[in-house]
Symmetry: C2
Subunit: 170 residues, 2 copies
C-alpha cells in the first residue's frame, strides 16, 4: 500500500507486509508506507529501561507517579527500537539494505505509556544515487509514530544506503 | 572530573561516578565529562537485534560475513542504548532530569563489532533557562562514543530538560 498524505487515523493496514520494495529503485520520493503497529506493556518498558535507561520515570512506577510525567513512560530509546522493528519488517528490504550512517531531527513530542499502541508510518522524502559507490542509492525517510489517540510520539528523518537493482546485462 | 578538549585516548577514568552534577546550574557549557566504557558481546548484539532490528548483518553471523560489513555489527539502536546507559549512570542527574524532547545529527560513523569496548564522553554545549517553565533549564549535549581503536562509532547532540537548583528562600 502506498498513500498520499492522510491523517494517521485513516492509515489503511491492508497489505502492509508487502510494499514491493526490493531495491533502491523501488523507493519513490513522496510515497508513504504503513509499517503496522506495536503495543508496549509496563513490564516491557521497565525491562528495557532497567538495562539501558534506568531513570526513575522509566523504571519505578511509584516514583514515576510523583514525577514530571505523572506516571511511568517508556525510554525514548525503547520507543525508537520498537519503531525500528516495524520499519525492518515493513519497509527496509533485507536484500538491499546496506545500513545507515545516521538520522536527524529525532523528536519525542509525547511520552509513550504502558499499554499504548504505536502506529508507524514512513515517507520516502529523497532518493539519489551515490556518486562514489555506484552499487547503491541514498534514501532519506521521514519516520512518524502515533499513539492510539493520534498523537505523535516519535518523529525522525533517517538516512539509509540501499543496493540499486542489478543490471541484467552485467 | 571535567576536561578541556583532549583526544579520546587521554580520557581519564578516575572519579567518573561523581561529576557533582546535581541540578541544571551545575552543567557548564564547554565542560566534557567521561561517562566510562561498556563492552558488547556477539550474543548481546544478536539478542537485541532479534527483538528490534533483525537485519541479516545484525542477527546472522554467516550472512553478515558475506554482507556489506564483512561480519556481524550491532544495530545502531543497540549502540545508542548502550551509550545512554553510560550517560544515565555518569551525567544525567536522577534528581534533576525531566526528560528529553529529542536529539539531532545522530551519526554512526563506524560499525560496532562483537567484543568492542566503547568509551563514552559528553560535552555540555549550551545551557539556558526555560522562558516558559521557570523550574527548569534546557541543556544541549554533544555525545561521543569511540571504540578501543579510538574510532568514533556514535555521535549525536541531545537536548535535555533539567530542574534548576531550588531557591533556598522559597
Amino acid at each position: 500500500m502506498i498513500w498520499a498524505e492522510q491523517p494517521p487515523g485513516d492509515w489503511d493496514t491492508s497489505g502492509v507486509t508487502d510494499h514491493a520494495l526490493r531495491y533502491f529503485d523501488d523507493y519513490l520520493p513522496g510515497a508513504s508506507y504503513d509499517c503496522g503497529s506495536v503495543s508496549v506493556s509496563e513490564a516491557e518498558i521497565i525491562s528495557f529501561a532497567i538495562q539501558f535507561d534506568p531513570q526513575p520515570f522509566h523504571v519505578d512506577p511509584e516514583a514515576a507517579a510523583r514525577g514530571p510525567f505523572g506516571g511511568l513512560i517508556a525510554s525514548g530509546w525503547h520507543t525508537a527500537a520498537l519503531v525500528m522493528r516495524q520499519i525492518v519488517d515493513h519497509y527496509l528490504s533485507a536484500e538491499a539494505s546496506l545500513g545507515s550512517p545516521g538520522l536527524d531531527e529525532m523528536r519525542w513530542p509525547e511520552p509513550v505509556r504502558p499499554g499504548d499502541t504505536l502506529r508507524v508510518r514512513v515517507t520516502a522524502v529523497e532518493a539519489r544515487r551515490s556518486l562514489s559507490k555506484p552499487d547503491r542509492g541514498i534514501l532519506r525517510t521521514l519516520i512518524e509514530a502515533v499513539n492510539q489517540d493520534g498523537r505523535t510520539v516519535m518523529r525522525a528523518t533517517a538516512t539509509n544506503f540501499l543496493r540499486v537493482r542489478p543490471d541484467p546485462d552485467s
